[in-house]
Amino acid sequence: MTDAVRGSGAAPLLELRGVGKDFGSVIALDGISTTVRAGEVTCVLGDNGAGKSTLIKVLAGVHPPDRGEVLLDGAPVSFGAPRDALDAGIATVYQDLAMIPLMAIWRNFFLGAEPTRGRGPFRRFDSATAKETTRRELLAMGIDIRDPDQPVGTLSGGERQSVAIARAVHFGARVLILDEPTSALGVKQAGIVLRYISQARDRGVGVVFITHNPHHAHPVGDRFLLLGRGRSLGDFAKGEVSVEEITRLMAGGAELAELTTELERSPSPES
């Protein structure tokens, strides 16, 4: 299925055309264009203040764009609230994850969307279904949870990201926006999260992976959107660009070269 959707003929799941957003007189985002296809990972790369957060908020329906268009399945859409984006199948996993550390995994998994059985005053939380579904969904993502009853707080950072991703996929996300999922993690944990990103991709989800680390983005990315000061520094397909080139573009090319020379020279006055 994934390969069929990947064909260039079909309209992309999500497309941005010249999107821009202003806050007062500050241009936070301008002229951003890229595509997100089902079963592909689009990486959004940029340094701090590059406009990554604003872009997420436009996609998640928090801020409507001031310019340009957002197209879903080839048709223009405008989201008035985060709920609209969610209903359209665009789920956002924020850095804080919206999980309660002291609650069991299965309780967190279904928080706010609990399955129920019975009616009237006997309507109750169907905990058997919830536990079973949680275990099955996590297993489908390749996450082997010892016990769905354990509190989320006992999971590692990477495992928690993975549960959040599995939750979004289960609740029908077609586009999954991940806000810096690897930034707070160590090398090994980040690797685990990258594997789950590729799992979600293989299940036909279009992933928007926001990061400032080219080394995390490059192995899983199918498309790379580079941001700098709210503007696009380039939108590349996989193979068009190398890790080194991404790093150079993100850091502002010439500026980095200058800095490198400066740093290399600096110890000399001492010696």
Partner: protein, 313 residues
């Protein structure tokens, strides 16, 4: 368990069935409140007005039934409306202002304390609402709130039964309903809960109204049982409820705890209170003992929280 064994070994009256009925009695009214307060604490809030609210509702029953010469069930209904209004006000103020519930309910606590005294004096001319036994319909109210059940030749207060039911209901709601899930989530991390669509405000207001309902029930029980109510009834009890809930394992920071635990806390309280009397110890030691248990409970709770957050980073 340990506490029961200790007192049972030391005193034969304590372990006799009538002794059990005796120490279950203070535990029962306290337990009904502790269960409701535990729900509220799991939801991340305190209610300092809960104690004085039992006085407010009891006085309302007395004044409406005696001074206005109304049927006692009407008086009880009026008291319920008053309690729900106070509970809603507490919850609404807390969710609207975002101020700590500690301060908001300290305000309502002081206001109610003043109102209890002022209005009782205004209507009765004294500081007591008395003569409830003479109100119309008192018999049926007594049957519901203050009758005695005979089990194996020993009389138990019906409040014990209500306490068991309240604990069972609260446990079921907490663990087996959507609302229960929302209570844990709201107390654990309100912002995160709201992000995934939990109606956190509604949950908080409902919890304050639940505590008020429990206060109403206990207040009516007091009014019907004692037939006269002092204007200072319930003052100081609010901290005892919180102590029982904490001994039962509720975290002060919210998001963790159980109704059964709070009930056990109330049970320990009842056993200790009467156990000390049976041993003919000086009753002054009671609060010392309670303080020790509170400290131990808080230290144990801290371990729970550490365990749960150990791998957080």
């Amino acid at each position: 368990m340990v506490i029961f064994a200790f007192f049972a070994l030391q005193s034969s009256v304590f372990r006799s069935l009538s002794g059990v009925a005796n120490w279950l009695d203070p535990a029962s009214t306290l337990g009904i409140m502790a269960v409701a307060v535990a729900l509220l604490m799991i939801g991340g809030h305190f209610d300092l007005s809960a104690g004085v609210m039992t006085g407010t509702t009891a006085l309302t029953v007395g004044i409406v039934a005696v001074e206005f010469e109304q049927h006692i069930w009407l008086a009880i209904a009026v008291a319920l409306v008053v309690a729900l209004a106070i509970g809603f006000l507490n919850g609404w103020l807390v969710t609207r202002t975002g101020l700590p519930s500690f301060i908001i309910t300290l305000g309502t606590f002081l206001m109610l304390q003043g109102l209890n005294l002022g209005l009782t004096k205004l209507f009765t001319g004294t500081v007591t609402a008395a003569g409830i036994a003479g109100a119309a319909g008192y018999g049926s109210a007594e049957w519901v709130f203050a009758s005695r059940l005979e089990i194996a030749g020993v009389e138990f207060r019906v409040a014990v039964l209500w306490w068991v039911l309240a604990t069972a209901l609260a446990t079921w709601v907490l663990l087996r309903t959507r609302f229960g899930n929302w209570v844990f989530a709201t107390g654990g991390d309100e912002v995160a809960a709201r992000n995934v669509g939990v109606p956190a405000r509604r949950t908080t207001i409902t919890l304050f109204m639940t505590t008020a309902t429990a206060a109403w029930f206990v207040g009516v029980t007091l009014a019907v049982r004692l037939t006269s109510v002092q204007a200072n009834t319930g003052i100081g009890q609010e901290l005892i409820y919180i102590v029982a809930a904490v001994i039962g394992g509720c975290l002060l920071t919210g998001g963790f705890g159980s109704a059964v635990g709070a009930s056990l806390g109330a049970l320990i309280f009842g056993m200790t209170q009467l156990g000390i009397v049976y041993l003919r110890w000086d009753a002054d030691w009671f609060y010392f003992f309670l303080g020790v248990m509170l400290l131990l409970a808080v230290l144990a709770n801290r371990l729970v929280r550490r365990y749960a957050e150990a791998a957080r980073r």
